[in-house]
């Protein structure tokens, strides 16, 4: 790479620009109205305009400012593990029941860490899943099935 960028600033700026552009795209049908009688589109677009300003500012500063600032390397394992774990819970909770969803959530979350010992995590997961069912369904009466059947 020939040029050095302040990556955190640049990425944050680009993120803001994307959000702002997305807002304009999503609200262009809504009536803006006038300041005295605002339509539903007035505030979102006004805020999006400000965000666009911030985005351009950060992105510009990230490019212009010569200081090279990197970002700590992204590790795939924690992200994928936690995402898969939450996803499993979301997919299982209503059809598979809380007991199954909890156990799956804990075991899959274990993948996220290199230090996980599954011999330890399995009994721990069973205990926590049982505890969650007792606490949330029995004691706090969360309306959710416990078992898949």
């Amino acid at each position: 790479m020939t040029r050095r960028f302040d990556w955190p600033d640049l990425l944050f700026g680009l993120f803001l620009i994307a959000v702002s552009a997305g807002t304009f795209a999503a609200t262009w049908r809504l009536a803006g109205g006038t300041a005295a009688d605002m339509g539903p589109g007035y505030m979102p677009r006004a805020i999006a305009l400000v965000i666009m300003g911030f985005g351009l500012f950060f992105a510009g500063r990230g490019v212009v400012r010569g200081t090279a600032l990197g970002i700590e390397r992204v590790q795939a394992r924690p992200i994928l593990g936690v995402c898969a774990s939450v996803g499993a819970f979301a997919l299982l909770v209503e059809n598979g029941g809380l007991a199954l969803a909890s156990l799956a959530c804990i075991l899959i979350a274990g993948i996220a860490s290199r230090e996980t010992r599954f011999a330890q995590l399995v009994p721990f997961g069973v205990a926590i899943a049982a505890g969650s069912v007792l606490l949330f369904v029995k004691a706090l009466s969360l309306p959710v099935p416990i078992w898949p059947w």
């Binding site: 539903p40 805020i47 950060f58 939450v86 979350a109 721990f124």
Partner: protein, 499 residues
């Protein structure tokens, strides 16, 4: 005396058996999460919110408040014994507290921390009582114009006083405001930015947003770092500090309390600023500043007092004006709204038992904390032996169940996952997510008041500076911004926050 009537009413509420129990539950949970590094009060309060729905409003607020100030106590235990701050507020306590522990004086350090916290908590409760009435009666005169200006001031002050880059935090506030307008527009009934998703019609729930940004994103980031945790293992026998220790600590305690109380009221003052300021002041006042960092007892007493006092007085803007001083108070507003109570100055007159009950419960809660923390300190230390590799899957699960539970919607779980990814991105680019939460919670109110103000004034924005109270409030905003741009203040702020 109206004041005593109020206090009496508050004590009546706080001393009801079930409220005492919820207070105890709150402070115990608070201490536990305070002791454990890696989980803070924000995800915990967010997690418990859905389950406070069935409680009486006073009970639920008493419990959630207990979690917040309980966490301040617990955080210092970890700071002293492990040299890892259990919470951001106890970063400073590490400096001298851990030194004391290394010198074999862990007992007195823990005791002084707990006593300072208790003292500060008691004084702060009285300050809340004294300030609440005049502030609330002032706020009753407010119209939409003043409210809008007040919220603007609150948001700006929160951004400027909190740590992190001011411009980035401001951008985060606007992001929060933007996602706050998602949903059906109240005035026209038009769906805004819902992308055809029916679950978004009522707007984004802030619980999944908070849990994703604060809970899950933190976990992902924590897992990238190897775990370091070393407990100072020594017998905690001499818990009672000597008279000499007490004498040395007392003036520091008093100063810390007042600094904490003053800074806590300011929006954004919350938990991080008071202990730093108190520590810096003690160092400046000391005859021999070189003792600091080497186990000076004042260096434990002052910041501990300050952070507890600050944690409590940050309830003042919430209870009197309905404006959150920090992200946690924003969650408290959410708790109120879930109970069908619109936060604002009218709460004080309409729900006196609730407001005064919560205030009085802070005192009973502090008393409980003193007992929970001193004789039982061994229990909390043993909690530190739970390895993070077991802790984090459980936290992930609780986040899932809590988010699902808020309205039995799987959509919220997916939303939380999305927010976790965004939150992880924020951590990577070094942006604080707390201002976003403030913007999200205040967004709808801000828009409502702005629209109403503009309707009243026929679209003339000068109304915000022709009304005196509003003009003063906005003037303060301008002053704050101008001050931020001056290089001298910029430097001291950087130093104060970095120290």
């Amino acid at each position: 005396m109206e004041l005593f009537d109020n206090l009496l009413l508050g004590l009546q509420t706080a001393l009801q058996l079930n409220n005492l129990m919820y207070c105890l539950i709150g402070v115990v949970i608070g201490t536990a999460i305070g002791v454990l590094p890696g989980i803070g009060p924000i995800p915990t309060v967010a997690l418990l919110l859905p389950f406070t729905f069935g409680l009486a409003p006073a009970s639920s607020l008493i419990m959630l408040a207990g979690i917040f100030y309980g966490a301040q106590y617990g955080g210092s235990t970890t700071a002293i014994l492990v040299n890892v701050p259990g919470e951001t507020s106890s970063v400073v306590t590490c400096l001298d507290g851990h030194e004391m522990a290394k010198q074999g004086r862990a007992g007195p350090a823990l005791a002084i921390a707990a006593i300072s916290s208790f003292f500060a908590g008691t004084v702060a409760t009285i300050i809340i009582v004294l300030l609440s009435l005049p502030l609330a009666s002032l706020a009753l005169k407010f119209t939409a114009v003043e409210y809008f200006s007040l919220m603007v001031l609150g948001l700006f002050a929160a951004v400027i006083l909190a740590h992190g880059s001011v411009s980035k935090s401001l951008a985060m506030v606007f992001l929060g405001l933007l996602i706050g307008v998602v949903g059906i527009d109240v005035n026209s009934g038009a769906a805004r930015m819902t992308f055809g998703v029916p679950e978004l019609a009522d707007g984004l729930d802030f619980v999944p947003v908070a849990m994703g940004l604060f809970g899950l994103a933190e976990i992902i980031a924590n897992l990238e770092r190897p775990e370091v945790r070393q407990v100072v293992s020594q017998k905690l026998r001499d818990l009672i500090p000597s008279l000499r220790d007490l004498k040395a600590a007392f003036p520091a305690m008093v100063r810390g309390t007042f600094i904490g109380s003053a800074l806590g009221v300011l929006p954004g003052g919350g938990a991080a600023l008071p202990p730093f300021t108190a520590y810096a002041l003690e160092k400046k006042l000391a005859k021999d500043p070189s003792r600091f960092g080497k186990g000076a007892i004042e260096g434990v007493a002052a910041p501990e007092a300050a952070n507890n006092a600050g944690a409590q007085t940050s309830f003042i803007p919430l209870l009197t004006l309905g404006i959150p001083a920090n992200a946690l108070m924003a969650l408290m507003i959410g708790a109120l709204m879930m109970q069908g109570i619109q936060p604002g100055p009218q709460v004080m007159t309409e729900q006196p038992a609730l407001v005064w009950g919560v205030i009085a419960s802070m005192w009973t809660g502090n008393l409980m904390l003193l007992i929970i923390n001193l004789p039982l300190v061994g229990v909390w230390v043993s909690m530190l032996k739970i390895p993070y590799r077991l802790l984090f899957p459980a936290i992930v699960l609780f986040c899932c169940i809590g988010t699902y539970g808020i309205s039995n919607s799987v959509f919220n779980v997916w939303l939380m996952l999305g927010c976790a990814l965004v939150g992880y991105f924020f951590i990577k680019v070094g942006v604080e997510p707390a201002p976003l939460l403030l913007g999200l919670v205040l967004g709808p109110q801000l828009e409502e008041n702005f629209r109403r103000a503009m309707q009243l004034s026929d679209g003339d924005p000068s109304v915000f500076i022709t009304r005196p109270i509003s003009a003063v409030l906005l003037g303060v905003v301008v002053l704050l911004l101008a001050a931020m741009l001056s290089p001298a203040i910029l430097r001291t702020r950087k130093r104060a926050l970095a120290e």
